[in-house]
């Protein structure tokens, strides 16, 4: 693909100090280090501060800024029609776990080979700081008239119980860790989730940089932590361990890989079982017409209905 003559990134209008800067930086570094040619990358996003991510890329990628809660569904359509693309979803916690929770759960059932980055800031940033589904009950961030009366959703446990095959957590201000997680998530075959703790200095005055800096620790430093399923029998036990671990939240907050299972076939592989031609024919590259004439041979199908 010809590189645009002028590639001027858009002006980034996130608030100064926003955790999103850490995320986009890590994401760009990860892509560069993986040596992915940007034309093969599509960043799909939802609506919210996080939803603007693709517009703010400094690498020349393609971006699809979709609807609130629906990023996963667009991404699925894109990936399945052109499996050669690297598809990354960037979306907020309101986006994915509130309005988009139904897609979040059901995407797990398919295990399409994509990476989902959850911008977990505890608030609805772009609509001025209402509680998001990851804010805990009783917490009162800046814009709330009263402490939050909803319980939070645990993205790690939810992803695991929904069938995600790579489930990790990282932290926006640990760009190096996040970058490595993103690389691992992209390389993972199947649906990967990274729950990124993302301070929102404007509205979330509880889960700040200071708050996380002193709590976050790396799972990899935990002796004996091995979240990778290597045999089918290990699945249940590793899932349960990951879930139990995901309940740890307080003085210590674990980041890193909670669960990975590449034994589960990806959706693309499952399609190919039913339609073997899918293996070597990328739908987006099949030519269904030749100088205007349709190439489909409809005869077999007509024959079934012949009377």
């Amino acid at each position: 693909m010809a590189v645009p003559k002028v590639w001027i990134p858009e002006w980034n209008d996130w608030c100064p100090g926003c955790g999103n800067f850490g995320i986009i930086n890590a994401e760009q570094q990860a892509l560069s280090e993986l040596g992915l040619t940007p034309e093969d990358v599509v960043v799909v996003s939802g609506i919210g501060c996080s939803g603007k991510t693709p517009h703010f890329f400094r690498l020349p990628i393609s971006g699809v800024h979709t609807l609130h809660g629906r990023a996963l569904t667009f991404a699925t359509g894109i990936k399945l029609s052109n499996p050669e693309l690297t598809v990354i979803v960037n979306a907020g916690d309101g986006d994915q776990l509130g309005i988009g929770a139904g897609h979040f759960v059901n995407a797990g059932r398919r295990n399409v080979d994509m990476l989902v980055i959850l911008h977990d800031n505890g608030v609805y940033g772009l609509t001025k700081g209402q509680a998001s589904p990851t804010l805990r009950r009783g917490e009162k961030t800046k814009s709330l008239p009263r402490p939050n009366i909803n319980d939070n959703v645990n993205p790690i446990a939810l992803a695991i119980s929904s069938g995600y095959t790579f489930v990790a957590r990282s932290y926006a201000y640990d760009v190096k860790h996040l970058k490595e997680m993103i690389k691992a998530g992209i390389k993972h075959k199947g649906l990967a989730l990274i729950d990124v703790l993302q301070p929102c200095p404007t509205y979330n005055d509880i889960h700040t940089k200071e708050y996380y800096d002193k709590r976050v620790y790396k799972l990899e430093t935990e002796p004996g932590w091995d979240p990778v399923v290597r045999k089918p029998e290990e699945e249940g036990e590793k899932m349960a361990k990951a879930m139990l671990k995901s309940l740890e939240w307080g003085e210590r907050i674990p980041i890193g890989l909670f669960y990975q299972n590449e034994l589960v076939p990806s959706y693309e592989e499952r399609i190919a079982t039913n339609a073997p031609s899918y293996k070597d024919r990328n739908p987006s590259k099949v030519r269904f017409e030749d100088a205007g004439r349709y190439t489909t041979i409809i005869d077999d199908i007509l024959k079934e209905k012949e009377i």
Binding site: G63, S277, P283, G292, K305
Partner: protein
């Protein structure tokens, strides 16, 4: 020549299979058929029926008056006896069944049948209903279903439970015997359906047994067939059209009466195609995703369309309501995506298995904000196929969602027609301003004279999409001047379409151009309208029929021209508001003088339209049709 045949029984008791066997037999003898299927939103036990028109010419509607009624149970007799003018085939065992013992019948209907019978001074058993029709000259054919099953079982040497379905075959065989056609066709049809030897045997024996005792009522002759004929329902016709036109991605969430289309495609997930590069025949895949809901379905399809594949989804009212936001995104991002919209009875869950034309205005306005929504509507199975192809071309050419309306009355009805009618050779792919090899920076939303920008697919250039207002590059823009231009650009495409698409293609005109009467219609009523107008023409009443195929952009000049010399304009459609009439009025300033409307969920029959037109001509402004059990 037309014969109207009807068969009914409890859902799950084999009504469909029976209708198919009978239809196949008659069709093999060279006849055309139009068949409509009615059923409750229920899996087992409620009343369902099939209504066929058999004709030596292409059939396109059903009739309110039934020549042969084949019944499986008491309810079918109670629900349909008043429609019959020829023969009723019934089970001896239900003669004494009392109306109030038929629990599957809804209380409102029972009440009405009861009143009717009582008003005739009759009791409320099946026998009473039969007595009534007999007095009107209807012939009765009594079969003893249990006896037939028993005998069949004995003669094949199987338990009675295995021979259970011989009942159904008995009803078909009796019907078939009445046609006067030679029995081979029926026997072949039974063979094809039941494949397994024992079952073929059971059903053939039952058929022979019954036919032996019945004298033909009609003298149907075998007709010569030229070329290939197919029998398809609307779901299949659309599916075939999509597959032919290169569909590579279909997402759907199950819903009546749309999902059968997707299930059909699922069963044909690979199709043979010529590879233009090599000239070889190779299989190509079609990705079909059963999504978690309709929000996902439309958005997955849009996502797929961005990669350049032909992508579609299919749904019905409740699902379409959920797609409103997604269709808006597609409009804003100029995505060529096709939504096949099967209209069923609304509002809300409504009557999930009944037909309707009440969603037209909603389809025209779906989604907040102003953007071009192209809306087309098919009126029969051939059009359903062709319009599925057309929809993709329109979507790609004008880079906007296309809504293809198909009603339940087409989806679940079928017709037999010659393959040549599809005009496969005439159908061409139009991909609009698709750029295969973009060069440098790509302005996906470039301002152009016709509002249509060059399009590139994901993976071939760096492109941006956003539901926010955007600049030519696809980045968010709140600038007020860009807003004015970009907004106008999108809507300009509709004007371009209006200029480019010949108005002659957007309507079909039938009948007499000099007539002082015009009939406006669209979708499934067309067949009934044409048949009624043909009948009226024979009686010296001439009318011109204007069938609207595209509602947006509306062919206003041509319709206006056609209507301007008419004295009577009758709008015939399946809703309460006269929605096509509303659109016509708005576009042309000319309002229908009369309306023939129906919203009881049952398709229009040609004879009720015929009566309706006569009433309209007598001055009735608004004729409401009630036909159909």
């Amino acid at each position: 020549m037309k014969i109207s045949w009807e068969i009914g029984g409890a859902q799950g008791a084999g009504v469909d299979t029976s209708a198919n066997i009978f239809g196949a037999a008659v069709a093999s003898a060279g006849y055309y058929i139009y068949g409509n299927r009615e059923y409750y939103s229920n899996i087992k036990g409620r009343h369902s029926y099939f209504n066929l028109t058999i004709s030596d010419k292409r059939a396109r509607s059903i009739s309110s008056v039934v020549d042969i009624l084949a019944t499986f149970d008491a309810e079918t007799v109670f629900q349909h006896f008043t429609e019959v003018r020829g023969v009723i085939i019934y089970n001896k065992g239900v003669k004494d069944t009392k109306l109030d013992r038929v629990q599957s019948m809804e209380p409102e209907i029972q009440e009405r049948v009861k009143e009717f019978l009582e008003s005739k001074g009759l009791g409320t058993t099946v026998a009473d209903a039969l007595k009534y029709v007999e007095s009107k000259g209807v012939k009765l054919i009594e079969l003893d279903y249990d006896e037939i099953v028993k005998k069949t079982a004995e003669s094949v040497g199987v338990p009675m439970s295995v021979a259970e379905r011989a009942k159904n075959t008995a009803a078909i065989a009796a019907s078939y015997a009445l046609t006067g056609l030679k029995k081979d066709y029926l026997m072949d049809a039974l063979k094809k359906t039941f494949k397994q030897e024992t079952f073929v045997k059971i059903n053939s024996i039952a058929a022979e047994m019954v036919m032996a005792g019945i004298k033909p009522m009609f003298q149907l002759k075998e007709l010569p067939k030229q070329g290939r004929r197919i029998q398809v329902d609307g779901n299949t016709a659309v599916a075939m059209g999509k597959i032919f036109a290169g569909l590579s991605f279909q997402s759907y969430y199950p819903i009546t009466p749309a999902s059968d289309e997707s299930v059909y495609i699922e069963a044909h997930q690979e199709v043979m195609a010529v590879d233009p590069e090599t000239g070889d025949k190779r299989k190509r895949p079609i990705v079909v995703v059963q999504s978690e809901d309709e929000l996902a379905a439309i958005n997955m399809a849009s996502g797929a369309a961005l990669t350049g594949v032909r992508a579609a989804t299919a749904t019905s009212g409740p699902g379409f309501s959920l797609m409103a936001e997604g269709i808006g995104w597609a409009g804003m991002n100029e995505v060529p995506v096709v939504v096949t919209y099967y209209i069923r009875g609304g509002p809300s869950t409504g009557q999930p298995t009944r037909t309707s034309q009440a969603d037209l205005l909603f389809a025209m306005h779906v989604g907040h904000g102003e953007f071009p929504r192209i809306v087309i509507a098919s009126s029969d199975h051939v059009e359903a196929f062709q319009d599925a192809v057309w929809a993709f071309n329109l979507a790609e050419r004008y880079q906007t969602p296309v809504i293809h309306l198909v009603e339940k009355a087409i989806a679940n009805a079928y017709s037999i027609f010659d393959v040549s009618e599809l005009e496969l050779d005439r159908l061409r792919a139009e991909r609009g301003k698709l750029v295969e090899t973009p060069d440098g920076e790509f302005q996906r939303f470039k301002f152009t004279e016709d509002g249509i920008s060059p399009r590139v697919v994901l993976g071939k250039a760096y492109v941006f999409y956003t539901g926010d207002e955007h600049n030519e590059l696809g980045h968010i823009s709140e600038d007020s001047e860009n807003r004015i231009k970009m907004y106008e650009k999108r809507l300009l495409k509709l004007r371009t379409a209006d200029r480019e698409i010949p108005e002659e293609e957007r309507i079909k005109v039938h009948g007499d151009a000099d007539a002082r009467i015009a009939v406006i219609t669209w979708g499934s009523p067309k067949g009934a309208v044409l048949d009624s107008v043909e009948q009226l023409s024979g009686e010296g009443v001439k009318a011109q029929v204007i069938q609207i195929r595209m509602f947006n952009p509306f062919p206003k000049n041509l319709v206006k021209k056609l209507l301007s010399n008419k004295e009577v304009i009758i709008d015939v459609e399946g809703n309460y508001e006269g929605q096509a009439g509303v659109i016509t009025k708005l576009a042309t300033g000319i309002e229908p003088t009369n309306y023939i409307l129906k919203w009881n969920g049952r398709p229009m029959t040609w004879d009720e339209v015929y009566d309706g037109i006569k009433l309209a001509l007598k001055g009735e402004k608004r004729v409401v049709l009630h036909g159909g059990a």
